[in-house]
């Protein structure tokens, strides 16, 4: 999907699409990471959509508990354009842990409707403007624990009980 087979110049394409937006770009293994500040996330998403990246493959959250922030990564790619379909772009932004709110991009990329609901229940991050922000997989008393945050620690039970 990426690496040597990649023919399209993703960096050039991104710099053309995101002209005038404050961003930083870095080449990672398998994808190109584009970091934007939280204010211009929506604008960047719209411009990437217009540049041909028509769907989000996954929305992941990285929990940097010592820095006190979450990093949201929208891995975007293209179905319709054949030359873009070889590349992956990770549009990423950071948000403070104590004010965990993100703008909903589900009207830009419709495949985010379910992924934002899953992030909402697993991390407790609210998405402003989401049309139907309900729990997806978890029961309410499990979702209250926010189980994928770093501060949630599963109580370890030994497989073999020690003799008393």
């Amino acid at each position: 999907m990426s690496g040597e087979q990649e023919t399209v110049d993703l960096e050039g394409l991104v710099s053309k699409a995101l002209e005038g937006i404050n961003y930083s770009i870095s080449r990672e293994k398998g994808y190109v990471e584009v970091s934007v500040p939280l204010e211009s996330l929506r604008e960047a998403a719209l411009r990437l959509k217009n540049a041909g990246f028509d769907h989000v493959k996954s929305l992941t959250i990285v929990d940097y508990i010592k820095k006190g922030e979450f990093k949201a990564m929208y891995i975007v790619s293209s179905y319709l354009s054949e030359e873009l379909s070889g590349g992956l772009i990770a549009l990423s932004t950071t948000v403070k842990r104590d004010k965990a709110k993100l703008p909903s991009l589900s009207d830009v990329w419709i495949s985010l409707l379910f992924q934002e609901r899953e992030v909402y229940e697993m991390f407790g991050i609210e998405f402003e403007g989401h049309p139907d922000l309900r729990l997806l997989l978890l029961a309410p008393h499990i979702a209250e624990l926010k189980p994928l945050r770093k501060e949630f620690i599963v109580k370890e039970e030994p497989i073999i009980r020690k003799p008393k």
Partner: protein, 197 residues
Amino acid sequence: MSKMEEAKIYVGNIDESARKARELLLGKMKLGRLVDWATAFSLWPVHLTTSCCSTEFAATWSPRFDAEQYGALPWVGSRQTNMIIIEGTVTTKMACALRITWEQMPPPKFVIAMGACSLDGGIFYNSYNIVKPWQVVPVDVYLPGCPPRPETVARAIVTLQRKIREKSIAGKWVEEGWRPDMKYVKPKEDVCSWWRG
């Protein structure tokens, strides 16, 4: 009592005749043993597919292994069945569905926990969203494996049949109205509390 007397035909008052016939039948054989025998060869599991063990469950009733020869046949609804084979992982939400299905089945009813996930969590051991089936329903036979082979499922059915006949579980259940040997019939916690809100 001679054979001539046994072959008597009762006529006249139907209540009186029925009472006499019942005394004759129950004097010969314990009704509980008949119930045990009948229940052991009509264990009908409900389709409660929770995870990937269901493929082996399906293969058990396929022509090659043919578990129908033991008198067990998967049936459609919980009202027409008397056995649950828990096919794998039980999550918090599925625990509620499992309990409701178990409540809906008419007694005498039995539970087989199939696969490593339903024994102690399996690969999801120590997870936040796993419920062990013995916390929700009383389990008769545990069936290890990841997933168990169809022979193992057939063996579990035969084991359950032997257990029913030797311990006379079904007969006692019918006579006494509740199962005598099962301690944890009711779950300690309300598994559907999240659903009622």
